[in-house]
Point group: C2
C-alpha cells in the first residue's frame, strides 16, 4: 500500500468510527432511555479518543509528508487533482489536531463541560458574575489554541479558520459593515409592512401527525431522499450524517403553530440535501465531506428562506395546507405570507427574523474579536453588549439573560463560530440569485413547485465538490464573485417590494 | 496496572465497542433508512474485527496466564471469588476465540452469509436439494470448529458448549427423553380441553396505540424499568443490551389479535428483566454478563408462560383489557384463557404452544446430533425429519418448507442451539416452583398483580450472579436439584387441572 492509499484507508476508518458515534449521538437525542446517559457519554468519549489517536499518529504525518513530496501518480488528471486536494486537506486537519498539546485539549474539554453547566445556571438567574470567571478561563484557553495553531494578523483568525477555512476577520469586517449600513435604514419600513397583520391570527390547533405529513411532503418535494434519511423529534432540531446513504433530520412541534416545525424542517432538509449531494464514493475522505459551517448554512437558509418564505412557494402550498388545517380558513395567502415574513426587533437571536438576525451576528462578531484580543475585559462585557445592542436595535437590553448570556456558544469554547451564520445568509442569497441567472426558466419551475433543477444546480456547484475548494473559491466559482451583502439586500427589497 | 486490572480494562473496552455495535444493530432493525444497509454492514464488520483483535491478542493470553499462576490478591474474600470466576470465564472465552484458525472463522462467516440467502430461497420454493450442498459444507465447517475446540465424548458437545456452557448431549438426552415420555400421552387430553373454545372468537380490531399502552403497563407491572429501557417495533422481536442502564425490547403488532404482541413483550421483557438484573458495576466483565441462552430463555418463558398464561394473571388483567378492547365483551375470562393456552399440533416450531413446542426441539436435538456425527447423511435429512415428526406429532409433513427447511438456525451455522429452548422451558417451571416454595405468600402476591417479590427472588437467585456459576450449578443452587422434566409436567397438569 502506498502512502496515499494508507491515508485513504485511515481516513475511511476514522469516518467509520465517527459515523458510528453519530448514530450513538442521534440515538441519545431521539430514543435513548434517560438512565443510559452516563454510559453513552463514556462510549462517545472512547470513540473521540480512538479517532483522535488514529488521526494524529506519527505514521499519518509521514504518509502526508510522503504524498507532499511525491503524490502517487495515476493517468487520470481529474483523479490526480482530487488526490492533491485530499492531501492538502489531510495536512490541514493533521496540523490543526497535532499542534495542540494534549494538556490543552483536555483542559478545554473539562473546562467547557463545567462551564456549560455554570452558564445554564447563570442564564436562568441572569447572573453574569457567576459565569464571568469561566468565560475568562475559556478565553485564556482559546488564546492558547490560537497561538498553537498560529496566525498572521490576529488570534481570532486562527479560531475562525476552524469553522470557515480561509476566512479572515479583516475580510469579513467590511462585508458585514456594508450589510449593516444597508440593512439598518431599511428595517423601519420592513417592520411597518410586516406589522400590518396580527401574527396571532395564525394561532390554531395543528395536530402533530398532520404536521409530520406536511413536513415530509415538503422535504420530499425539495428532493430529500427518504430512502437514505428520515425525520425524528428532538428538543433541538439538527441534521446529522451516519454514512454515505444515511442522513437524519430532526424537528420539534408546536401544536399552535405549524410553521415553526415546517420552516425548521426546510432548514434541516437544506443541510440534508447538501449531505445527500456529497459523492458517496468519496465518503470518509475530504472530497466527500462538507466544506464549512458557512457553506452548510448557505444551503439550509436558501431552502428555508429564498424558497420557503417566498410568495411563489406559498402560492403552491398554501391551498393544500389550508385544506389540511381548517383553522387557516379565514387567513388569506397574502396575510399568511406576511406573518411568516414578519420583521421585528427581538433580544433573542434564535427568535429573530431573517433580516434582523444579521444584526445579532454583527454584534457578536464585533464583541468576540475584542474579547479574544483582550481589548474588551470580561467584566465589561455586559455593558459593551447592552450599549451596542441598543445602537443596533434601538431597544434596551432588560437583563443579561436576554443579553450577553443568551447563547451557549462561548461557554462551549465556540468562538469564531457566529459569523458563519451571516456568511450562510449572504451566500444563500448570492447563490440563489446566480441560480436564477444561470438556469433558464428556474423561476417558473419554482412557481410550479418543481425544485429539481435548483437542486441539481446546487449539487453541481456546491455539494459534489466536498472540500476541493476553499469556501470563498467555491462561491466565486459558483456565482462569479466573492461573498457580498448586495444580493441579500436585493433579495429583501424585491421580496418586500421596496 | 497488574494483569487482573489489564484484563478488566480490556474486557470493558471490548464491551464498550460491542454495546456500540448493539446500538447500530438495533437502529438497523428499527429506524435505519433502507439504503443505509450496505454501509451499516461495513461498520458492524469493522467492530467485529476490532473486538476480535482486542480479545485475542497475545497479551490477553499472557495476562490470563499470569492471573491463573497468581491472582492479584485483595483482603475481601467475596471480591477474590469474583476475580477468580472472571479469570476462569476470560480463559474460556479466550480459548474458544483463539483455538479457531482465522481461515475457518472467515470461511464460516462467508459460507453462512451465502447459505442464508440460499436457504431463504430454498424454503420459499420448498426445494431441499438446492440447500443440501450448503448444509453439507456448513456441517463440515462446524465439525472442524468442534475439533479445534476439542471435546471428550462427541463433537456435538463442543458446539453445544458455545450456547450452554457445561451442557453435554449425554446429560440432556435422558431429561429430554423423560419429558417426551411424560408429555406425549398427555397431549390428546390437553388438545381436547383447549379445543373447547373457537380461537376465532378472539379475532377483533385492536388498535396499535391501545396495544402499545397495554404492553407498557404489563411490562411496567413486571418491573421492567423504562428509565433504562424502551419498546420499539421490528419485524422480528428481540431484546438487546446497549449498556448497564440501556436495554431495549422490540415487538410487532397484529391488529386482529393483541395477544401475540402482548405475550411477545412479556417474553422479551423477561429477557430484559434478566439484563436489568445484572450488576451494573460489573458491566463489561463476565460477572456482569448473562450466563447462557438456556438461562436467558428460562427468564423469558417464566414471565411469558408461568406468569402471563396463568389464570390468576388474567383474573387481574382481563377486566382492564376488556374495558380497553370492546371486541372482547362477549368473551368470558375462562374462554379467553383457554384460547391463549390452546394446545394443538402444528408443523411450524415458532407457531407452537408451550407444550408441543418441546417436541419440535426434541426432533431437532436428535437430528442435529446425527448430522454432526455423520450418522445421518444430508441427503437423507428430509426423510428422517418427516418420519420422526410423524411419530412425535401424529401428523404428516406436507413439504420441506414446513419440515426440515423451516428454521434459519442451521443455515447460520447455529448447531447445538435448539436444546437451549427446552432447557429454558424446563428451568422456567422449575424456578417458578422453587420461588413459590421459598417465598411465603408468593402465589397470593401474583394473584394480586404484585410481581415484585418474584422479581426480587429471580434477581437474587439468577440475575445478579452473571457468569459466576455454570448453568447447572446455578439451577441447583436456586432450586436444590438439577434440571428435570417433572416441574414442567406438574405445571402443565396443574394448569389444565388433570
Amino acid at each position: 500500500m502506498n502512502a496515499y492509499e494508507s491515508l485513504l484507508q485511515r481516513s475511511k476508518e476514522i469516518a467509520l468510527y465517527n459515523s458510528a458515534a453519530s448514530v450513538l449521538s442521534w440515538d441519545q437525542e431521539t430514543y435513548m432511555p434517560a438512565k443510559a446517559g452516563a454510559y453513552r457519554a463514556e462510549q462517545l468519549g472512547q470513540f473521540a479518543g480512538l479517532t483522535h489517536r488514529l488521526g494524529t499518529s506519527a505514521e499519518v504525518g509521514d504518509w502526508i509528508k510522503a504524498c507532499e513530496d511525491q503524490l502517487p501518480s495515476c493517468s487520470d488528471e481529474e483523479e490526480m487533482a482530487l488526490r492533491a486536494a485530499n492531501v492538502r486537506e489531510w495536512r490541514r486537519d493533521y496540523d490543526r489536531a497535532t499542534k495542540l498539546p494534549g494538556r490543552l485539549v483536555e483542559e478545554l474539554a473539562r473546562t467547557t463541560s463545567l462551564a456549560r453547566e455554570t452558564w445554564a445556571q447563570a442564564r436562568s438567574k441572569s447572573d453574569f458574575s457567576s459565569f464571568a470567571p469561566w468565560l475568562e478561563k475559556i478565553l485564556g484557553l482559546v488564546r492558547e489554541q490560537a497561538d498553537a495553531w498560529g496566525y498572521t494578523t490576529c488570534a481570532y483568525d486562527a479560531l475562525l479558520e476552524g469553522y470557515e477555512p480561509g476566512a479572515r476577520a479583516a475580510d469579513l469586517a467590511p462585508v458585514f459593515a456594508d450589510l449593516q449600513k444597508q440593512l439598518t435604514p431599511l428595517l423601519p419600513r420592513l417592520q411597518e409592512i410586516t406589522g400590518a397583520v396580527d401574527p396571532a391570527r395564525l394561532d390554531g390547533n395543528y395536530s402533530i401527525p398532520a404536521q409530520q405529513a406536511l413536513n415530509r411532503q415538503v422535504a420530499e418535494a425539495m428532493g430529500f431522499d427518504f430512502g437514505a434519511g428520515r425525520i425524528d423529534t428532538t428538543v433541538h432540531p439538527f441534521c446529522t450524517e451516519m454514512g454515505p446513504k444515511d442522513c437524519r433530520l430532526t424537528t420539534r412541534y408546536n401544536e399552535k403553530d405549524f410553521t415553526s416545525s415546517l420552516f425548521g424542517v426546510m432548514h434541516e432538509a437544506g443541510h440534508g440535501l447538501y449531505t445527500q449531494g456529497l459523492v458517496p464514493e468519496q465518503f470518509g475522505t475530504p472530497m466527500g465531506t462538507y466544506l464549512s459551517l458557512g457553506i452548510h448554512e448557505s444551503q439550509s437558509r436558501l431552502w428555508e428562506n429564498q424558497v420557503g418564505r417566498s410568495l411563489s412557494f406559498w402560492q403552491q402550498w398554501y391551498p393544500r395546507v389550508q385544506k389540511q388545517f381548517l383553522d387557516l380558513a379565514a387567513l388569506s395567502l397574502e396575510e399568511f405570507w406576511i406573518i411568516v415574513n414578519r420583521v421585528k426587533s427581538t433580544h433573542i437571536r434564535v427568535e429573530a427574523d431573517e433580516a434582523t438576525y444579521n444584526l445579532h451576528i454583527i454584534l457578536r462578531f464585533e464583541i468576540e474579536q475584542r474579547l479574544v484580543s483582550g481589548e474588551l475585559a470580561v467584566a465589561d462585557l455586559p455593558r459593551a453588549w447592552n450599549t451596542r445592542f441598543e445602537e443596533l436595535f434601538q431597544i434596551p437590553v432588560p437583563d443579561d439573560a436576554r443579553g450577553c448570556l443568551q447563547d451557549t456558544h462561548w461557554a462551549l469554547g465556540l468562538i469564531g463560530y457566529f459569523p458563519t451564520y451571516t456568511l450562510g445568509t449572504l451566500n444563500a442569497a448570492q447563490l440563489f440569485h446566480a441560480a436564477t441567472q444561470q438556469v433558464p426558466g428556474l423561476e417558473s419551475d419554482l412557481k410550479g413547485g418543481n425544485y429539481g433543477r435548483l437542486l441539481t444546480w446546487l449539487q453541481e456547484k456546491i455539494h459534489r465538490h466536498g472540500r476541493r475548494y476553499s469556501p470563498s473559491e467555491l462561491i466565486e466559482r459558483a456565482t462569479g464573485e466573492s461573498t457580498k451583502a448586495t444580493y441579500f439586500m436585493d433579495y429583501l427589497k424585491a421580496k418586500y417590494r421596496i
